[in-house]
Structures are given as structure tokens and as C-alpha cells.
């Protein structure tokens, strides 16, 4: 009988325990077989046995030396050391507030039916009526800004300290540039977000 994987209460407890753990334990994660860039990935280690989730949890985070050596995939990015949480919040909040203002001004300037800009709990929602909805939010554990676009789908932007911009590593797209292009095209009027 197929059983759903891990009860939610368990996981909530786990999350609390997880917060108490030192961030350094995350260093051990490796990313060899999963080819995902820009996200935290782990090598498949050990069997996944729901009953003893805490034990599995530790296994999940600890890397096997052999798999670390063999891993040819992208290295696990240690986000906490790349960008301290406080700095991330400052940068991300600034960016999102910036976008919020610009979208509000844009809404005043153009005439799109059901144009709506919503901001709550650090989530920015831009509704363009029948043209679609954009959702922009922070993903703090990954130090990323996540975007959901009706045109290009989901993307995850990392902060690039060199260019001082948010970049989607898979396509090298720039957050502001992408939004400018898409929104400008959708609404028929150029928008400047930079």
C-alpha cells in the first residue's frame, strides 16, 4: 500500500531541530549525480526509511567520501558563506521594494485591465489580468530570488557580487532585464526597472 512520504508534523519538528543545528553541517553536502545548478543538491546516500527520519536526515546531509571524489557535477554551493543572511535580506528586500515601486508607477501609466500589484510577506505579485501573473519572492535558504513568470516559467536568481545584479545561472539572464523584456512585451509599453 503506497504510503505518503513522511508526516508533516514530523517534518515541522525536524525543521525546528534543523534550525538548531550549526550551518557548518551543510558544508558536507555534495552534488554529484544531480545536475541542478543554483540549488542545493545532495548525493543519493543511504536508504530512505521514513520511520527513523532523524537518522535518515543526518545521512542525507553527510557526504560519503567516495561519492564526493567521484562527483563531476556542479559543486554544492555553500550559500551561507557566499552571502550572509542579513546581507541577503537587505539586498533582496531592496530589490523587491524597488520592483514594487516601479510596477506601481507602471500600472498608473498604462491601461491594462485588472492590473494589480500585491505585496505581502515579502512576496510580490504582479497580476496582468488575462496576460498572466508574476510572483517574485525570496528563497532565503538558497539566498535566491525566485520568479514565476507566465512567459518563461520558474527561474531562480542568485546575487552576483561582481555585476551587483541578480542572475539566473542556467541562462545567465538578469532579473531586471528579463522582467523589462517580458512585461514590456506583454503590456505593449516599455518599462524601465534598472
Amino acid at each position: 500500500m503506497a504510503s505518503r512520504f513522511a508526516p508533516r508534523l514530523f517534518l515541522r519538528r525536524l525543521r525546528m531541530r534543523r534550525r538548531a543545528q550549526p550551518i557548518s553541517s551543510l558544508h558536507e553536502a555534495s552534488a554529484e549525480s544531480a545536475g541542478v545548478i543554483g540549488d542545493r543538491i545532495f548525493s543519493p546516500s543511504g536508504t530512505w526509511s521514513p520511520p527513523d527520519f532523524q537518522c535518515v536526515f543526518r545521512v542525507f546531509f553527510s557526504a560519503r567520501p567516495s561519492s564526493l571524489d567521484e562527483g563531476k557535477g556542479p559543486a554544492a554551493i555553500d550559500y551561507p558563506s557566499l552571502l550572509p543572511e542579513e546581507e541577503f535580506h537587505k539586498l533582496a528586500d531592496e530589490t523587491i521594494h524597488d520592483l514594487l515601486e516601479k510596477f506601481e508607477e507602471y500600472g498608473d501609466a498604462i491601461q491594462i485591465e485588472d492590473y494589480e500589484v500585491d505585496y505581502g510577506n515579502h512576496v510580490l505579485t504582479l497580476k496582468l489580468g488575462s496576460l498572466g501573473t508574476y510572483v517574485i519572492n525570496k528563497q532565503t535558504p538558497n539566498r535566491q530570488i525566485w520568479l514565476s513568470s507566465p512567459v518563461s516559467g520558474p527561474s531562480r536568481f542568485d546575487w552576483d557580487a561582481m555585476s551587483k545584479t541578480w542572475v539566473y545561472r542556467r541562462t545567465m539572464a538578469n532579473l531586471f532585464q528579463l522582467l523589462e523584456e517580458e512585461v514590456g512585451q506583454l503590456c505593449g509599453q516599455p518599462i524601465s526597472l534598472r
Binding site: 549525480s33 544531480a34 540549488d39 538558497n142 516559467g153
Partner: protein
């Protein structure tokens, strides 16, 4: 007094009832609910099996982790079986469940072209849940990559053995 107690009792009762009768605007699509209630292919293969590819994506801290495994027929390169285990929201569970359904019976190259947009469309995922479908796409790719890496390693190992045998035999 009795009426108040009665009301409280009823309220308690309604709290315990499953929150499926939520605000209509925010309801999950029936396909998502279906996959959540009747997930297909939940399970685990032996990851040390050479015909098994394991894709593990996501992070608990982010709230979504998917493990998608494929069993491949070495001779034909076709995926004969797939299973998944996902820790995450209903959309994440549904996305990975759909992914296992879609990869079964397909050739490995073919499943690499499964796009997150197709999964999202199939489940009518709202904008904020598109990320779940992308994770499912990533899980498929990771599983295929893992299988191919294992196969390559195995073949390299075999080549070495035959070489040493030749030396021994010489």
C-alpha cells in the same frame, strides 16, 4: 451556557475536518488532489542496482525534496519502471508523481525532453507552484544522469579488468 459549549464543540469539530473545503479561489486542481490522495509509484529501488538511476533534488530547508528513481533496461535504454518519494507540498508530490507516470516506457533520451511547463499545465499549477514542476523536471534529468554515470563507470571498470586479464594472460 449550553449553547456556547455546543458552538465550541461544533467549531472544534469543523477544525478537525480536513481543510479541503477551502476558499474556492485557492483550491487545488482535482488532478493535484488525485495524485495527493492516490500517489502513483511511491517507493524505492535499490540505488546500488546498476540498472537504477537515482535523482535527488531540492533541499529540506526550502521545503521541497524529491527523489525520483528509474529502472532502465540496459539493452534498449528504455525506462521500465519508476518510483518516487517526495517531501513537500501537494503540488510537489503531484508533480513528481506525474513525472514517474510519464517516464515509464519511454526511452531515456525522450524523457529528457519532458518540460516543467507540460507538468504544470497538466496539473493546472498556479504561478507560485511552477517551481515544483521545475523540480520534477530536474529530478528526471538527475535520475537519467545518475544512471548514465553509473553505466560509464561500470564500463570503465570492465575495460580495466579485461586489460589486466590480458596482461596476466600474456
Amino acid at each position: 451556557m449550553l449553547r456556547a459549549a455546543g458552538r465550541r464543540f461544533l467549531r472544534l469539530g469543523s477544525e478537525h475536518r480536513a481543510p479541503t473545503a477551502a476558499v474556492a479561489a485557492r483550491a487545488y486542481h482535482e488532478r493535484v488532489v488525485d495524485h495527493y490522495d492516490n500517489p502513483r509509484n511511491v517507493g524505492s529501488f535499490d540505488k546500488n542496482d546498476p540498472t537504477v538511476g537515482t535523482g535527488l533534488v531540492g533541499a529540506p530547508a526550502c521545503g521541497d525534496v524529491m527523489k525520483l528513481q528509474i529502472k532502465v533496461d540496459d539493452a534498449t535504454g528504455k525506462i521500465v519502471d519508476a518510483c518516487f518519494k517526495t517531501f513537500g507540498c501537494g503540488s510537489a508530490i503531484a508533480s513528481s508523481s506525474v513525472a514517474t507516470e510519464w517516464v515509464k516506457g519511454k526511452h531515456m533520451e525522450e524523457v529528457l525532453s519532458i518540460k516543467n511547463t507540460e507538468i504544470a499545465k497538466h496539473l493546472s499549477l498556479p504561478p507560485v507552484k511552477l517551481h515544483c514542476s521545475m523540480l520534477a523536471e530536474d529530478a528526471i534529468k538527475a535520475a537519467v544522469k545518475d544512471y548514465e554515470a553509473k553505466k560509464a563507470k561500470l564500463e570503465a571498470g570492465n575495460a580495466e579488468t579485461t586489460q589486466t586479464e590480458k596482461v596476466d594472460g600474456a
